[in-house]
């Protein structure tokens, strides 16, 4: 059975990953919709910016976050009086996880929105629905499997996030030390292979659980649609 310390590490990882996904999901849906359906100057640039975390070394992203959201960074200074602090907090780990998972989420959702027949949206409008209603009653429900896939990919990415997190918020037990960081820490200590292995197994179980959950969610809606 996992020890109390191990459970705390798992709980922290889940919290970081959950909030990272929860907060970035609406933004990702908006970005995916814009990329799938809108044409505007600078779209290529926007597309590239969304995908940047996918191609940049995570350490670079972490460093960028530190520069922007650190105590003395331009955004960190503005947000601190509002009570929003990212530096060396679990919220920073969630932010790093959100940024790193963002491109995966956008890609999956965009693909799903691409498959929604725009003429169904036209039909909804002739029936009296405004654009936002069409989006929430037609586009989004039909893109649901893509949403689930995107959220799962980002969640898994968040559970595994290492480079950006350790660079941005360091490796503070109980605050920013998520599973990968804890495993890394144990591997740096001579003779601590056993705890590292135990945490690794937990990590595998967690990922499998998330996968099963998302399969179930996607299937429930998928069957209703294709039957």
């Amino acid at each position: 059975m996992p020890t109390r310390d191990e459970l705390e590490i798992v709980a922290l990882s889940l919290k970081v990953a959950f909030w990272g996904v929860a907060v970035s999901l609406p933004v990702a849906v908006a970005a995916a919709f814009v990329l799938a359906r809108k044409r505007f100057p600078g779209k290529t640039l926007f597309d590239a910016a969304v995908h940047l975390p996918l191609v940049l070394p995570p350490v670079v992203v972490g460093f960028g976050l530190l520069a922007l959201f650190g105590r003395h960074g331009p955004l960190g200074r503005v947000l601190e009086p509002l009570g929003i602090v990212f530096a060396f907090r679990w919220t920073g780990a969630a932010l790093a996880a959100a940024i790193m998972g963002f491109p995966l989420m956008v890609r999956a959702i965009r693909l799903a929105i691409d498959t929604v027949d725009t003429r169904l949206e036209s039909a909804a409008r002739t029936l009296g629905a405004r654009r936002t209603r069409v989006f929430f009653t037609v586009t989004l429900p039909l893109a649901w499997p893509g949403l689930v896939t995107g959220a799962l990919l980002a969640f898994a990415r968040a559970l595994g996030e290492f480079g950006a997190t350790i660079t941005f918020v360091s490796n503070i037990p109980g605050e920013t030390q998520t599973l990968p960081l804890a495993i890394y820490t144990f591997t740096q200590v001579p003779g601590a292979e056993a705890p590292a292995l135990r945490l690794s197994i937990l990590s595998v179980l967690l990922s499998l659980g998330a996968l099963a959950l998302s399969e179930g969610l996607a299937r429930r809606r998928g069957i209703a649609r294709d039957a």
Binding site: L120, S122, R125, T126, L127, G128, L142, R221, R225, D226
Partner: protein, 363 residues
Amino acid sequence: MLEVDVAIERGRFAIEARFASDAPIVALFGRSGAGKSSLVEAIAGLVRPRGGRIAVAGRTLFDSARAIDLPPEERRVGYVFQDALLFPHMAVRANLAYGERLTPARERFVDARRVVSLLGLERLLERLPATLSGGERQRVAIGRALMASPRVLLMDEPLASLDAPRKAQILQYVELLRDELRLPIVYVSHAIEEVTRLADHLVVMAEGRVVAQGPVAEVLGREEMVPFAGRFEAGAVFDTRVASHDEAFGLTRLAFPGGELVVANVDALVGEPVRARIRARDVALALEAPPRASFQNVLAAVVHSVGRDFGAIVDVTVALPGGERLVARVTRESVVRLGIAPGVEVFALVKAIAIDRRSVGFA
């Protein structure tokens, strides 16, 4: 009243159309690619015309001169798409309710239960669109459009993807709607038999232009319509009334201003209007009435014009005493042999008559 006067650009294809009608059913007729669908999309607000004006029932939906361009959701047009386009993630009941919920209560004039029973949807309500047959889907699509209480119903080739029995069934429903709900309908089709059965006002389109328009019988009788109606189906349309039934022989006499047609028993009461279509290939010409022949209908007529020939075949238009036109398809050799020319008196021998419609709209 439906008024359309627009110019639309779709890529390199330009559409210019102008028509106005207060007929119960206006048919847009033409081959695929003639611009019919673009035109109804413009009426629905799904395509923005380059310029012009669109008004339905006295309400301006689009007017480039006055900078009016209502979004589709404010136009109150019911659009029935060729492939139904039901929402796949909603049961039939939710599909039907989609537009109804969005219609302000004071604008609703269509009763949900009435639509369900009119279209025979009672047993489909809990089903998902993917489990419906093509005809069922199309009925639900019509119901969904109706439940939003539209001011006009646009039907874009609603039968194109259906087999013959389903087509006949949906056509009956369309006639029911016209007669029961008194809702003006714009019906897009490339099938002459649908158009002659349903339409009151016919707008013929080709290559983005309106090439003919007017009452169906009059327009289809025009000689220049032959290429549009298709060589096989080309012919004349007669709006008649049932004059009498001959029970013994199972025949019905149909009266029109210039005479009478005898057809096999038509299931209609005496006095009821019936639309009959006589295809050019079912009409022969003779200089004298044949004394002993099986033809039921031998009509005295005067040759109006001799059409351009398709090789050995010529379409000859003749005028009946009442002014109606009839087209006869004969060989060029017969035209020469019988000396057929404008002004010559002939007899039109009618071999078959198609009955396209047993009721006429509310206008």
